[in-house]
Symmetry: C2
């Protein structure tokens, strides 16, 4: 079982690599190698019990994709993308990396002729606009960002290549991941972790939306569990549509903060500053939160039990020491 | 008003060119020029009252697109594509022409900076699979052919470029066009015209499906009317989603044949031979027919009143003399 994680230097890629290394198996087979590939050389996995390679890969360059995705590769996790606000600011970068880069990976996987399993990280940003609530497995994908459009195109490609028998694809529309460790990034959703992470680390953070802003969340720990389950679903159980929501839960900003206070006491919440940011609001208010991930739940994927769990996972897995 | 029709050598492109030349106006302005562009040089428009250019254009070549789509172009009709069975047999051709060719046209239109109106011919082949009936404006696009996937990708691109303000796009999911004049083509739906056209012309035709096979149809005459109406809809009336079904009507093969008999007598129907063709059946039975084009109907697009009309339009507009 030879695994390639493209985007292996990112938060989810690193956690996924560590989790797979700790399990030692995937799809009932011993893991023989994990390759972490990213635009800059990913950090290695400490104390991995299986061979781990860390390589650079530029998905916009077919030769670079060919160097890490080979006939030996059994399962590919494609997590690499530029994030929503970045793709919105720089249309060409989003098209080149998110659309054409994804196409390069899928086409190369097809050309290998080995029909690898591809686990593709799509996003709930594929939903938006004039589509009635609730959002079900049969709701129209109507993205209101270029990032969402590029992810929806990736889904169509993955479904079609799977239907043709070229690859064994499965795509999951990730909820907003919170509490995401590390630094803020250019995702419009970045604040949905910052307002918890920075205060839990004793630092100030800015909340650019009102406290009643509702959104759909999943912890990094559950996300990694779901990606692994997603890789293990039998092809025949996926049906005609290989892409689906990944389960999450709807919470308001107030509920996130209350969960933080319940777990960590009242001090962190006092480090949040409220400053409306219209451009961020414009993007995130186009997203949808009344999502019903029935197909994924039936296939065994799960959401967090409470947002208190998300806070605890951050403290256990990610909070910097000291 | 300078109009470019890409795919101007095809059945709909030619009829659209003739209809626009006969009207003399579009979007309330005098038509100053019509350019018919296609992979082979299109036939000219006889007795056109406006200047008509006929040029070759290969949409897979950005330079070729740039040569016919210029800052002078006000409205582009993008009708060029390879058809369903062709794209299914030759995956790379479908990706190159239907996906990348469409992207070339859209990206060049964007780069002009003049925000042209783009009327894109999508297809009801974007629908399929595990999506409950009826198909509404908010149903999931779940194509079961590569052609349908490539059209759905074109829609996502057109919506996103329009949302960004780069072009003024509008896309219409064409029903199966019948009675389509000319020769059979490589569309899986080709028989849905052949079984009427050839008998009306005194020739035999093969029907590869049962007589109770239901499908969703529109005449070429109404299709052209709808494309012109589609170009004329005010941008603000289109809403957040620029792509929609073009209205048609559901009929069974038996109803098509009965309509032919009602208009042209019993002789033509006797020229139909029934021969099941599993590969054609596999494709067309994945298509959907219970479609509810509410948005398009509200915007003034229309279906045929009866299939007898479709037969009459063929006899009036297209039946070869003699």
């Amino acid at each position: 079982m030879n695994i390639l994680i493209i985007g292996g230097g990112g938060v989810i890629g690193q956690k996924l690599g560590r989790s797979l290394a700790a399990r030692g198996t995937l799809r009932g087979q011993q893991i023989s190698r994990i390759t972490l590939a990213d635009i800059v050389n990913p950090a290695p996995i400490p104390d991995a019990g299986v061979p781990v390679d860390c390589v650079t890969c530029n998905i916009t360059d077919p030769a670079s994709v060919a160097a890490c995705l080979t006939e030996e590769t059994d399962v590919v996790f494609l997590l690499a993308a530029i994030v929503s606000a970045h793709a919105e600011e720089d249309f060409d970068a989003g098209m080149t990396i998110n659309m054409m880069g994804t196409l390069n990976v899928f086409q190369h996987a097809r050309q290998l002729g080995t029909k690898p399993v591809i686990v593709f990280s799509s996003s709930i940003a594929v939903y938006g606009g004039e589509v009635p609530d609730p959002i079900t497995d049969h709701s129209f994908l109507n993205p209101q960002t270029s990032y969402g459009a590029q992810k929806a195109i990736g889904e169509l490609l993955l479904n079609d290549l799977s239907r043709k028998g070229y690859v064994d694809g499965r795509g999951f529309r990730l909820p907003t991941i919170s509490v995401r460790p590390g630094k803020p990034n250019r995702a419009a959703s970045s604040f949905m972790s910052s307002i918890l992470r920075e205060p839990l680390n004793g630092q100030e953070a800015i909340c650019p939306v009102d406290e009643d802003f509702p959104h759909y969340y999943l912890s990094p720990r559950k996300c990694v569990e779901n990606l692994i389950k997603g890789a293990e679903i039998a092809a025949q159980d996926l049906g005609q549509n290989r892409c689906m929501m990944m389960p999450g839960r709807m919470w308001t900003i107030r509920q996130l903060i209350d969960a933080m206070t319940a777990v960590a006491g009242p001090a962190p919440a006092q480090l949040i500053r409220w400053e409306a940011q219209p451009e961020i609001q414009r993007i995130v208010k186009g997203w949808r939160f009344d999502l019903r991930p029935e197909k994924a739940l039936k296939l065994g994927l799960t959401a967090d039990d409470s947002f208190e769990d998300n806070i605890r996972y951050y403290l256990e897995d990610d909070k910097p020491a000291g």
